[in-house]
């Protein structure tokens, strides 16, 4: 079988379920439920820090997860402080935060703020434990934090109820190392599927409160907040494509033994 034929079969197995809705069942896992419950139990007005620790290449997985979590936060009337610890996550994070905030009609500066990017993530995570304004004297729009209403009541991690790291690499581990271990912060993680298995030891040790793993995590979260989005739509394609891969692996093995 030529590789071009395999690519065509994979493309069709993704495209057809996207065009024709199949509505395949999807169960909510305990780690996703844990993130939902952690956010749901927060009092209205509590502050959630969302860190966009990812690059542009992982957008198809990152965006549905970030959107679902932010929708839940804004729906619960929580205050959101956004920031980025990887440069490429800066503009993407700002865009996702702004678009989701617009859906709920919440105000910049009052209900949410985006602080922008800081390099040297160890120093940034540790520094915010002392004083966020020292790490981010100004927000993404170059407005001094002292002039932003939401930031007047927030000094450091003591004023933040939950940190959510939206990541495509091992940045959540740095959050565990510095924010969780040293400042006893609660941490939830939304990560690409490829990284998910690396974080299960931290999840079972209680160092992470919950975990969203890739498109499936996003789809589960969309089910919980009852707002279907890119995640749920993509999961049909994901399932059919996985089936196609399994069939191709079986066909490849059968072909190999027949040739032998």
């Amino acid at each position: 079988m030529s590789r071009q034929l395999i690519f065509i079969l994979i493309a069709l197995s993704v495209a057809i379920p996207l065009v024709i809705k199949l509505g395949l069942p999807n169960e909510v896992t305990s780690e996703v439920m844990a993130v939902y419950e952690e956010i749901d139990q927060l009092d209205s007005g509590s502050v959630v820090l969302v860190s966009f620790d990812h690059e542009a290449s992982s957008l198809p997985e990152i965006k549905p997860m970030a959107q679902a979590v932010l929708r839940h936060c804004f729906n619960r009337k929580l205050k959101v402080v956004g920031l980025a610890l990887l440069a490429e996550g800066t503009a993407i994070g700002e865009q996702i935060l702004r678009q989701t905030a617009d859906e709920y009609g919440v105000d910049y500066g009052e209900d949410y703020v985006f602080l922008g990017f800081r390099p040297q993530y160890q120093a940034a995570i540790l520094g915010m434990g002392e004083d966020i304004k020292r790490v981010f004297p100004e927000d993404y729009k170059n407005i001094p934090l002292t002039q932003i209403p939401i930031m007047r009541k927030i000094r450091n991690y003591e004023n933040i109820s939950l940190v959510i790291s939206v990541a495509d690499g091992d940045m959540p581990v740095w959050w565990v190392d510095y924010a969780v271990s040293r400042y006893h912060m609660k941490l939830a993680v939304a990560t690409t599927a490829v990284m998910a298995t690396s974080f299960y030891p931290f999840l079972s040790a209680g160092q992470m409160k919950g975990l969203l793993g890739g498109l499936k995590g996003a789809a589960e979260y969309e089910m919980l907040i009852k707002k279907p989005g890119m995640g749920q739509r993509g999961m049909d394609a994901q399932s059919v494509c996985h089936l196609m891969i399994i069939l191709l692996v079986i066909a490849g093995n059968v072909g190999y033994y027949l040739k032998k």
Binding site: A15, E61, A87, P119, Q122, Q207
Partner: protein
């Protein structure tokens, strides 16, 4: 149709064209991606680091003590000049020293003590026993001072099963992750570009 959508669709198709074979369209899109990424990161670094952390404090606020870290930063660039490359070692030594000082206690606490504690607490449950068996047998596999024979060999072999399960799960997640990227592009092409998805 929005111009940005057209450009994005064209570049997506350029990249996908590699699946047939390498071609100038793919090369163009690849080089454009590298150039744009580097340019973007440079601008972000300039706006969020160099300006607020060095140039503004020195030139606008008169904080001349910031010149010292600035000079240390410049030393790093001297690695490109063999005659003065030795000066970069001062900056590197500072980074390694401070970095290790900050990282070692945090890593010990987060990755050794907390993980061991979690394993001990869960030892009373079935999950805990499985975790303990996984740790003990996997460590046995990586213990090379005793020949893998007899009961020790058996436990090392069980350790490899745990490792294979981990690799299988990780590979499964990796496939899922890569397919998600394809789904994202397909959603864009069929939705935003062709409007086939309702």
């Amino acid at each position: 149709m929005h111009t940005g959508t057209l450009i994005a669709a064209f570049l997506t198709l350029c990249i996908f064209s590699f699946l047939y074979k390498d071609n100038p369209f793919y090369k163009f899109a690849e080089h454009l991606l590298v150039g744009v990424s580097v340019g973007y990161v440079l601008v972000i670094a300039l706006n969020t680091t160099l300006m607020p952390k060095l140039l503004n404090p020195v030139f606008k606020e008169g904080r001349f003590d910031y010149i010292i870290p600035g000079i240390l930063g410049l030393f790093m660039l001297l690695r490109f000049f063999p005659k003065y490359a030795w000066l970069s070692r001062i900056s590197i030594a500072l980074i390694i020293g401070a970095g290790a000082g900050v990282a070692i206690p945090a890593t010990l606490q987060a990755k050794i003590f907390a993980q061991m504690q979690a394993t001990m607490i869960n030892f009373a449950s079935v999950d805990g026993i499985i975790v303990f068996a996984g740790i003990a047998t996997t460590l046995a596999y990586f213990f090379f001072s005793k020949e893998h024979k007899g009961w020790f060999g058996t436990s090392a072999r069980v350790g490899t099963w745990f490792l294979m399960i981990f690799f299988g799960a990780t590979f499964g997640y990796t496939v899922m992750s890569r397919i998600s990227l394809l789904i994202g592009r397909m959603q864009f092409l069929l939705g935003d570009f062709l409007h086939v998805i309702k």
